[in-house]
């Protein structure tokens, strides 16, 4: 999978995001590092923040398109 569809899913789930970055870590289209900065994370624990990212990417996670996902979340300031 290319990075663009993942970026679109994240941008849809975090419309206010000041940063949405998707990096293909291995160049093989299945190991990704995503970074999202959004006010939706404000006041949430890291577990809750990562859950929101997992929810946004539930489709490609469930069908095996994403083999490995690294997540970095940032609260909006």
């Amino acid at each position: 999978m290319a990075t663009e569809p993942l970026r679109a899913l994240l941008a849809g789930a975090f419309p206010d995001a000041s940063e949405v970055d998707v990096e293909d870590r291995t160049g093989t289209g299945d190991h990704f590092q995503v970074t999202v900065a959004s006010s939706r994370f404000n006041g949430l624990s890291l577990v809750q923040q990562h859950r929101l990212v997992y929810e946004a990417l539930a489709g490609p996670l469930a069908d095996g398109t994403i083999h490995e996902l690294r997540i970095r979340t940032k609260e909006a300031t």
Binding site: V47, H50, Y54
Partner: protein, 120 residues
């Protein structure tokens, strides 16, 4: 609830620090499991490791219980702390040691060894 699911729950609730991982601390089979294990070791956590690879049902039942889709998964005092990214981040900020102290007491580093338990 299945017997396997009960066993998983028992580990989560009964062990101070439970790490569900691919492989064992002696033979780690995944880079992310290694990242989580090493962060826990740096914080001096008394890790109880569970290898999820022997049966795909372990991972399925674990994720159904925790609502967390990926491996590794780390629990402290019965509470889901997160996967490799969160555990690394918490270790870097010192928050992991504070969580361990809060859940297990100040002497959590003393006299407790890393161990591995089998669910099967």
């Amino acid at each position: 609830m299945s017997e396997l699911s009960e066993n998983i729950k028992q580990v989560i609730e009964g062990e101070d620090v439970a790490l569900f991982m691919k492989g064992t601390p002696q033979m780690v089979m995944c880079g992310n499991s290694l990242r989580a294990l090493e962060a826990l070791r740096r914080a001096g956590a008394p890790v109880t490791a569970v290898d999820i690879l022997p049966d795909p049902a372990i991972r399925a039942e674990l994720s159904a219980l925790s609502g967390w889709p990926t491996i590794p998964q780390v629990f402290v005092g019965g509470e889901l702390i997160g996967g490799a990214d969160i555990v690394e981040e918490l270790e870097q900020t010192g928050e992991l040691e504070r969580k361990l102290e809060g859940a297990l007491g100040e002497g959590y580093r003393d006299g407790r060894d890393e161990k591995t338990v089998s669910l099967l």
